[in-house]
Point group: C2
Chain length 170, copies 2
């Protein structure tokens, strides 16, 4: 196998892992995702372990989590007992998956929590409480709009998202 190619692969996997960390995603999970994105064929757990030099436990846990996110899927290989995995290759579909999951996991709970905060003070009439209720209300409106946008993106076909984004950019 070409040396430049192998070096570029390693580089790409390392960079994608670093990017994952910056965005609150576990480094190993991001690296497995990178590996499967550039892998021409599906890989099984042992192949992932060997390529990335990680333990079986970590490989299994992170592969499972990527399946939960909908970023990779298990595929059965004929005449094989082991489970193989392949990545979603369409970057816009990937983006939709991430939008859907982050909304569900991170935005929905904060909306619920902020609503709880606001309820605690909305019947109070002193100046401080009213100010607080107003600020929390503005944040709720904001998170609601973002949440709605992600909801829409998460339900979209990738084909709808690109034109929207391009429009957003003018």
């Amino acid at each position: 196998m070409n040396k430049n190619y192998l070096a570029a692969r390693q580089n790409f996997i390392a960079q994608w892992g670093a990017m994952g960390s910056a965005w609150g995603i576990n480094k190993t999970m991001a690296q497995i995702h990178a590996l499967l994105m550039i892998s021409p064929a599906p890989l099984n757990t042992d192949e992932v372990m060997d390529e990335l030099d990680i333990s079986r436990g970590s490989a299994n846990t992170n592969l499972r989590e990527l399946v939960n996110w909908g970023l990779i899927r298990p595929v059965l290989q004929k005449g094989e007992r082991k489970e193989y995995f392949e990545s979603e290759k369409d970057v816009w579909k990937m983006f939709c998956c991430i939008a859907r999951e982050r909304k569900r996991r991170e935005l929905d709970p904060i909306v619920a929590a902020l609503e709880g905060c606001r309820q605690q003070t909305e019947s109070l009439s002193d100046a401080h409480s009213r100010e607080f209720t107003k600020t929390v209300g503005e944040l709720l409106d904001f998170v609601g709009v973002v949440s709605g946008a992600l909801e829409k993106i998460g339900r979209s076909e990738q084909s709808i998202v690109l034109p929207m984004m391009l429009k957003l950019m003018q």
Copy 2:
């Protein structure tokens, strides 16, 4: 001070901190931000330390970082030697700040890195290299569009962003 109000404050600060963690932002930094968002008046380092029960070192570092992000600003109080801080209160301006900084800190480096990866293989003609170059190219296009959108948002007045987002939602 009203008990419900104080409880709601504490609750809000805790929730905003938890949300920060989910989005790759240091919990204490998010809590300081929450505190300043709901504080009617600017606060100094000692007040932040007392309210959140954190050390001087942590308060100083995280306040400074919030200033770097543009989410809070130092303000001088007449007849005071200590430095006071107040939060940007407009949530859409806050969103623009975050878009601008995350693009600069996290997207720009990954674009540079991916371009490096692609350069390593774009002159290679074997099937694997060509496939790799294609995948990395698609990711670059994608990150480029997202980066452009954030760039636009980061340069915007908040007033432009809300209608765009609402349109995005239909």
